[in-house]
């Protein structure tokens, strides 16, 4: 059940990337989909234990490796998001629109 829900979030993100013409929405959708993949890793890691992976009182610890990987993935995701938004800002200043279709139409008008 949980897997299906996480997959649904991932699909929502991918749908947003494909369908939304607004560039900011596309970037948001990327971030959502990234979040879903991260959730998958962490959920998988948490299946094998029940306490946080910090030495202290007992219990079986969860798998620390996916968590460590996901720290990196989150940071990379936010870096890419900030790059994307900077690009969107410059494009908006250039073309005055946020619509990806319009931007593409204006940018790649092939000169003959």
């Amino acid at each position: 059940m949980t897997w299906i829900l996480i997959g649904a979030i991932l699909m929502a993100g991918l749908w947003g990337v494909v369908n939304r013409p607004n560039m900011i929405k596309k970037v948001m959708a990327l971030s959502i989909a990234n979040s879903a993949v991260i959730l998958m890793f962490v959920y998988h890691g948490s299946l094998s234990g029940d306490t946080a992976p910090i030495e202290g009182n007992g219990g079986t610890m969860v798998d620390p490796l996916p968590q460590a990987l996901m720290l990196t993935a989150i940071v990379v995701g936010v870096c890419v998001m900030s790059m994307a938004l900077v690009l969107v800002y410059r494009l908006h200043r250039k073309y005055g629109t946020l619509d990806m279709r319009e931007v593409e139409g204006k940018a790649w008008k092939l000169r003959d």
Binding site: I9, I24, S35, V42, A52, I74, Y89, H92, R101
Partner: protein
């Protein structure tokens, strides 16, 4: 419990993508990352929860707010 929060996350993400008002979209994305932080915490991953709180609710929201502030509030597409 995790499932309930995931349903909420799904709802907020879909609305964030559908809604016309960009600021509301950013807000919903903020809720999304808050809830995902909570989910990470429930899945006993405090480090990831901390990072997600810092990145999703903090820096991510700030940058998204910046872009909406600089461009357009209404999604006219």
């Amino acid at each position: 419990m995790v499932e309930a929060l995931l349903v909420l996350m799904l709802i907020s993400s879909v609305f964030a993508l559908l809604i016309r008002d960009m600021l509301a979209a950013v807000l919903l994305l903020g809720v999304f990352s808050m809830l995902s932080c909570l989910v990470f915490f429930l899945l006993s991953a405090p480090d990831v929860a901390l990072t997600e709180a810092a990145v999703g609710t903090g820096v991510g929201t700030v940058i998204l707010i910046w872009i909406v502030y600089r461009t357009e509030r209404r999604d006219r597409t």
